[in-house]
């Protein structure tokens, strides 16, 4: 049994370390490329959301490398993500991959079903060992998430532009070829040291933009045109509240950070009274909190036809007016040309700069 997973940001680190620890055979899907997207788009329903398509591309590319079992997480709705497992099953069936097995880790299917699927994946009922390895893998992944976060700080401030990107670009390949958890940990540690070695201008006060929106398009760098790098290279500090480590903690293990949840729930209250699925409430609540913390602008990113984020996107303009914080909504689909997005982001950056200038100069646009 060779297991594979869909890509979701740094999820591959978690899966790699976990399966290495438990000696499970697995195949990591090749990093998302244009080909992944093309395969996914070709075989998926036309109007499905982008993550479904790219995940299908991941699966097919992994199957080509020899994988025969796919793990996907399920959910209870109302977001479409909850139904991905069934859709993938049907699509793969019609494509003729009938020998491929699909295992859904679905917290909503009930505990017995969940335990059974965990048992089939790991081939053991030693749940303590699985949990311990899970925690170890989680820690490594959280460390990689922290590396990303460190980069948000470094990129706008580094003296030699592109040094952080040069370090980070090697990380994925290195982790892919690592042989055990020790090596992965060593690689992460070295990368961290390399990042900390980069010379930065600590006096700089760069523009700050909060990335909000649908989790997949925020986390997976291929889908959002490496938005973090793009913004960082433009001299903007990025703030991202959703990370994959947090998603695993909240979605699969059901450990919520109650203090934080209460905080954004309260901020969201005047705009959206109840949770509606997906991350709509998080998008709105975190945007309000981010504006209060002194961010310069908000960027909402979501795939075309994402149901919860459409609701958020029709509410966010009101929030943007109330908190006086500019908002840029970016909708992502199968188009891979990034020039249009770059132009819009540059224009947004100019707008934010002018706004900051006006604020510093007491409302005057120019003091010459």
């Amino acid at each position: 049994m060779k297991i594979t997973i869909p890509h979701l940001g740094n999820l591959y680190v978690f899966v790699k370390v976990l399966f290495d620890c438990l000696a499970v055979e697995y195949i990591l899907p090749p990093p998302c490329t244009k080909r992944t997207l093309e395969i996914g788009t070709k075989y998926s329903p036309e109007m499905a959301c982008l993550p479904l398509k790219i995940n299908l591309g991941n699966f097919i590319e992994s199957i080509e490398l020899g994988a025969d079992t796919i793990i996907i997480t399920g959910a209870g709705g109302p977001c479409r993500y909850g139904y991905y497992c069934k859709m993938h099953e049907e699509m793969l069936k019609d494509l003729g991959y009938s020998n491929v097995k699909l295992i859904a880790i679905d917290p909503y299917a009930g505990l017995p079903a969940l335990l059974k699927s965990i048992k089939t994946i790991f081939g053991t009922v030693d749940f303590i060992n699985i949990a311990v390895s899970g925690v170890r893998a989680y820690r490594v992944m959280a460390e990689v998430d922290r590396l990303d976060k460190l980069c948000y700080y470094i990129r706008p401030r580094e003296l030699v532009k592109g040094s952080a990107n040069a370090v980070m670009r090697l990380l994925r390949d290195k982790i892919y070829s690592a042989r055990n958890i020790g090596e992965v940990k060593k690689i992460v540690k070295e990368t961290r040291a390399a990042l900390l070695n980069i010379e930065v201008d600590t006096t700089l006060n760069p523009l700050k933009i909060g990335l909000m929106g649908e989790i997949y398009t925020i986390i997976e760098p291929f889908t959002n045109f490496n938005m973090e790098e793009l913004l960082g290279d433009l001299g903007i500090e990025v703030d991202k509240t959703l990370t994959i480590s947090k998603w695993i903690k909240e979605h699969l293990v059901k450990l919520h950070n109650h203090k934080e949840k209460a905080e954004y729930d309260k901020a969201c209250e005047p705009y959206l009274k109840t949770p509606i699925g997906g991350h709509a409430r998080e998008s709105i609540g975190h945007s309000a909190l981010y504006a209060k913390r002194g961010g310069d602008g908000i960027m909402q990113i979501y795939p075309l036809t994402c149901m919860p984020e459409i609701v958020a996107s029709s509410i966010l303009p009101a929030l943007s007016r109330d908190y006086d914080i500019p908002l840029l909504t970016v909708v992502i689909d199968e188009i891979t040309g990034d020039a249009g997005y770059k132009t819009r982001i540059e224009a947004f950056k100019d707008l934010l700069l002018k706004k900051r200038e006006a604020k510093n100069n007491d409302g005057l646009l120019c003091r010459n």
């Binding site: 139904y83 699925g277 459409i310």
Partner: protein, 354 residues
């Protein structure tokens, strides 16, 4: 003598008489509550109408969808929402200045363990922050995902804008639920929502040789402006039309239980259930009407297509958007019905491809 009136009109007259009697006594001002003729209007209008009228309020319904409403919809709603949600914005806009309150229930779940759709759950806020100048919104939450008991609270919530009299509210709620049951049983007996709510009847084909199942959410099937009158068009091509509303709930439950994963959207469940029901009844063809940008249907329509194909039933997916041109639809329906007729006549004789 009453057969020329729809069920709704009769209900309205009855409640009107009650109102006159009630307010004649206490001399109060009649509160006007506006309900947009869009989205789940086709499912729950009798319920809410009889509820509010039993409380002594007047219910104002927006007009049928027109070009102006469509234009307003496009103007006010975010541009990547689906067509029915957009239309809801247009209908809400058309009700400005006509009522004291705008009623937009937040329908999160209508059955245990099921959901409706994120956009419908967030509808009150979507409309509130998109359309300027609206009257105050009554955004009663209906959430029966965990248990049915919260329905009572929803009724009290909605009624709190009109009266605080608990006994009266209780009575109105009972009345509303019985009106709803009446409506549902009328639907199950084969009547269409457009017949019951608007008194518009489908033109029955004189001699039909095709049985075509038309699937889709009720707001896509029965808004004859947005779907360019497709049900009547099918009748013009001599096809008898079957829709999912006529299915018993038990049958829907039975058929929609597909292996692997519980279908958690109530509206999607009905389509899947009806699909399997119609496959079993050996329909000649299935048309699925989907609105552009509908999240649920992007999956359900695809599943339906796969299942219909596996069972060898011709399937056609029609996607509605803001276009109002009829020619394209006409051509496609004509082509679809022709293909089915040819298939029936000489499926096993096709020299061109042999």
């Amino acid at each position: 003598m009453y057969q020329n009136y729809s069920l709704m009109e009769l209900l309205g007259y009855k409640n009107h008489i009650i109102n006159l009697y009630y307010f004649g006594k206490c001399g109060g001002k009649i509160i006007k509550i506006a309900i947009p003729r869009a989205l789940l209007y086709y499912e729950y209008y009798p319920l809410w109408k009889s509820f509010f009228e039993a409380l002594g309020a007047e219910v104002i319904l927006s007009s049928k969808t027109t070009k102006d409403i469509m234009n307003d919809s496009i103007k006010y709603c975010v541009n990547d929402a689906c067509l029915p949600v957009k239309l809801f914005h247009g209908h809400a806009k058309s009700l400005i200045g006509k009522a004291d309150y705008l009623f937009i229930p937040r329908l999160k779940s209508i059955a245990k363990g099921e959901h409706i759709c994120p956009k419908i759950s967030g509808l009150p806020e979507m409309v509130k922050f998109s359309v300027p100048g609206l009257p105050p919104i009554i955004d009663t939450e209906v959430n029966l995902r965990k248990s049915k008991r919260s329905l009572k609270k929803s009724f009290f919530d909605a009624a709190s804008y009109i009266t605080q009299d608990k006994k009266n509210i209780q009575k109105a709620a009972t009345l509303a639920l019985s009106a709803h049951r009446e409506y549902i049983s009328a639907l199950k007996s084969g009547k269409l929502p457009s017949e019951l709510l608007e008194n518009t009847h489908l033109t029955k084909p004189t001699a039909s040789d095709l049985n075509i199942a038309v699937l889709g959410h009720s707001y896509n099937l029965y808004d004859s402006y947005s779907n360019i009158n497709i049900l009547n068009k099918l009748a013009a091509y001599k096809a008898a039309v079957y829709t999912p509303e006529g299915f018993e709930d038990a049958l829907i439950d039975k058929y929609s239980r597909i292996k692997g994963k519980k279908m958690f959207w109530s509206l999607g469940k009905r389509q899947l259930g009806a699909l399997f029901g119609y496959i079993e009844r050996k329909m000649d063809g299935i048309i699925y009407i989907m609105a552009f940008g509908c999240g649920i249907d992007s999956f359900i329509a695809d599943l339906c297509e796969r299942y219909a194909k596996r069972n060898g039933i011709p399937f056609y997916l029609m996607i509605l958007d803001e276009h109002s041109g009829e020619a394209g639809i006409n051509t496609r329906i004509e082509a679809f019905t022709d293909m089915i007729r040819w298939k029936k006549r000489n499926e096993n004789y096709n020299p061109a491809f042999r």
